[in-house]
């Protein structure tokens, strides 16, 4: 009963052909990604430069990091649309903790506190959904507005412009010539894949999303699994805030507005069923990269000023097309509507 939307677990969604869907989706996304890079590079070779591809990865890193957590939440059949506001709140808190004009705490303490608040927010979401029995889309919709309001209060119309060097280094520094955010993103992806694929917990995530009632009968504590997923997502949002926000010199109150839509889009285009049970990390990562590359590609193709006004339209059309094509391919293969869990 605790689905995001819709009525019951889709009537037919178990093993068999369904297991192929995420892999097929990842393959398709990888193909499109290579195609986009190839075509744009043919028009403007600068696109294929190592520097640009590196920037592309850096730009997508926050979506990838948070997307991993979101994938796990969506796998359990829930959703969290408060991540954008949470990112904004964590950025503001990090700024307040670190700025010498405010609290001026040491870097390690700032990191610890930020991670703790992020995890705490995830816990609150998880509790509202499980114990409070508030549908996740409603609980996190409420959190979306509440956290944004709280952020405005904390910032009080000011920006934080004096992040200490120790914190700035999290965003601008790196190791072996690779920025921290990429190391972190790689680690997060690795750990998430292991959790999802190789641990009993991962099995439970899929089981809870696939059929909560059956999972309940199999004595899996569905509440605990879902609380864990929300907490992990909160933690990862804090991680994203720590590596992405210090890339900029200014912490402002509008950070993360609309971020939840980007992340949910990446998860959905990545092939994770919105009703849970099927999907995976790989698809989300590829979709995040693809969505990031499309925006950049439009700059490099340089269609002229008028085309700028069509960019959002092109992106939206692209998402629609990707979902539609995948769906039609799935239908032809006789596993109709599997990944999106079409209504009954």
């Amino acid at each position: 009963m605790k689905r995001v939307l819709g009525q019951r677990p889709a009537a037919v969604r178990d093993g068999g052909a369904g297991a192929r869907a995420p892999a097929r989706r990842s393959l398709m996304l990888a193909g499109i990604l290579i195609l986009v890079i190839g075509v744009v590079s043919a028009v403007n070779p600068a696109f294929a430069s190592l520097r640009n591809l590196g920037d592309l990865l850096v730009q997508s890193a926050p979506v990838i990091i948070v997307g991993c957590g979101m994938t796990l939440v969506v796998l359990t059949g829930e959703i969290d649309i408060s991540v954008g506001s949470l990112l904004g709140l964590l950025a503001a808190l990090m700024g307040v903790f670190a700025s010498p004009q405010h609290w001026g705490l040491p870097t390690a303490v700032v990191i610890g506190l930020t991670l703790a608040v992020g995890t705490g927010a995830g816990l609150l979401n998880g509790l509202l959904v499980t114990v409070g029995r508030v549908p996740s889309i409603i609980a996190t919709l409420a959190m979306l507005t509440i956290l944004r309001g709280v952020t405005e209060f904390i910032m009080g119309g000011r920006w934080i412009t004096d992040l200490p060097p120790g914190i700035r280094a999290l965003g601008t520094g790196g190791a072996l010539g690779v920025p921290w955010c990429l190391w972190v993103a790689a680690a997060v992806v690795g750990v998430s894949v292991v959790i999802a694929r190789r641990t009993p917990l991962g099995l439970r995530l899929y089981a809870v999303g696939g059929n909560a009632e059956a999972a309940g009968l199999a004595r899996i504590s569905t509440a605990r699994v879902r609380i864990f997923a929300f907490m992990l997502l909160g933690l990862l949002t804090a991680v994203a805030a720590l590596v992405a926000v210090p890339q900029q010199s200014v912490v402002e109150s509008g950070i993360g507005v609309g971020f939840e839509l980007v992340v949910v889009t990446a998860v959905v285009v990545g092939g994770t069923a919105i009703r849970g049970g099927t999907g995976g990390i790989a698809g989300t990562v590829l979709a995040a990269l693809l969505l990031g590359s499309i925006r950049t590609a439009l700059v490099f193709l340089n269609f002229g000023e008028t085309a700028t006004y069509w960019e959002r339209g092109i992106q939206g059309g692209f998402i629609l097309a990707a979902v539609l094509v995948d769906h039609l391919v799935a239908a032809r293969q006789g596993s109709g509507g599997r990944f999106i869990g079409a209504a009954a």
Binding site: L127, W159, T308
Partner: protein, 346 residues
């Protein structure tokens, strides 16, 4: 047992949330209670509406406004605006204040049409309306406190860039990072910037890109532009969010000084970039003075000392300010550079 523990956890969470909210509400209440307590005989209530609450630009304006209100003594100042910059919400505030029969509403319209309708309606109710920071249709307000017209701003930006690039005939590609594609003020400035670019035939505008009021997006778009247009000489960041984002991207690409960034922002937000050479000039005006003058003008209008057709306004510590038609002039646009930016603190 387990489930009861869970219920307790949830209850605690809810209580925490409610406590935070209550604290926030209390903070909000106490902020106004003080202003309400004093009841002078001829109290003037002035509402100051920014385009978007939460931007330091407007917060610093409000500081100047408070200073003027304190000096005058009989002024209750209300400062509120939409935190998301939505013109519809701002229009709703104008409607509400008009119903509350405040004396003056000073509006910085984020969209002259949407706000203009509400302002006209408020005028019909007998509320004085002035604009500040940005203007609306002349029949929607009585005066405008004018720190710079769209034309002044557009021209100043382009001239500053041309001067920073240098040479008798400045040469190179330039790009604009704007707020959103539909932002009325920015589109007005861009129109005049393009007009002014005609004076510098060798400066070519290669792109106008939106940053959707997102510093990170401004940063990314600038990164993309730097690579897609290797001959880029200058970038205009024409919103206070786009400017630092663009500057940071140029700085991190290691091309500080080779690619110049300029735009509108409060000096405190840009000091670091001016000192490290990424930004040579920041264009703005004294925001505190703008807020101060706005409240002075509003109070004069409400008390009857300022009337249509006047040519001068006594503006307290700013001295006497000139009025041209219905425009109360603040004075010059300021250009902050390495040499003078540390003299300003706002």
């Amino acid at each position: 047992m387990k489930s009861s523990a869970g219920v307790w956890c949830a209850a605690l969470g809810v209580i925490a949330a409610v406590a935070i909210t209550a604290a926030a509400v209390a903070g909000g209440v106490s902020g106004h209670e003080g202003a309400r307590a004093e009841t002078a005989a001829k109290k003037i209530t002035i509402c100051l509406l920014p385009k978007k609450k939460g931007l330091p630009y407007f917060t610093t304006c409000a500081k100047g406004a408070e200073e003027a209100a304190k000096e005058l003594g009989n002024v209750e100042l209300i400062y509120d605006g939409p935190t998301d910059g939505s013109p519809e919400k701002a229009a709703g505030m104008v409607d509400r204040w008009a119903l509350q029969k405040v004396d003056v509403i000073a509006v910085s319209p984020n969209d002259p049409e949407v706000l203009g309708q509400a302002m006209k309606k408020a005028r019909q109710k007998g509320v004085h309306i002035i604009t500040w920071d940005a203007d609306a249709a002349p029949d929607a307000r009585e005066f405008m406190v004018n720190q710079a017209t769209g034309r002044d701003i557009g021209y100043a930006l382009v001239d500053t860039m041309a001067k920073d690039i240098g040479g008798a005939e400045p040469e190179g590609e330039v790009a604009i990072i704007t707020a959103t594609l539909t932002a009325a003020n920015q589109n007005e400035w861009i129109k005049h910037m393009k007009e002014r670019l005609g004076k510098y035939p060798k400066l070519t505008l290669v792109a106008v890109k939106p940053s959707n009021e997102d510093q990170r997006l401004a940063f990314q778009v600038t990164q993309d532009l730097l690579k897609a247009h290797p001959k880029l000489k200058g970038i205009f960041g024409i919103s206070s969010v786009a400017f630092p984002g663009a500057a940071e991207a140029v700085k991190q690409s290691g091309r500080s000084g080779a690619v110049l960034v300029t735009g509108l922002a409060t000096p405190n937000d840009m000091k670091a970039y001016v000192h490290d050479g990424t930004v040579r000039s920041v264009v703005l005006w004294n925001t505190g003075d703008l807020g101060y003058l706005t409240v002075r003008a509003a109070a004069a209008l409400a008390s009857g000392t300022l009337k249509a057709g006047d040519h001068e306004l006594d503006a307290g510590r700013l001295g006497t300010k000139k009025i041209e038609g219905d425009q109360i002039l603040l004075g010059q646009i300021l250009v902050f550079t390495k040499d003078n930016i540390d003299d300003f603190d706002f």
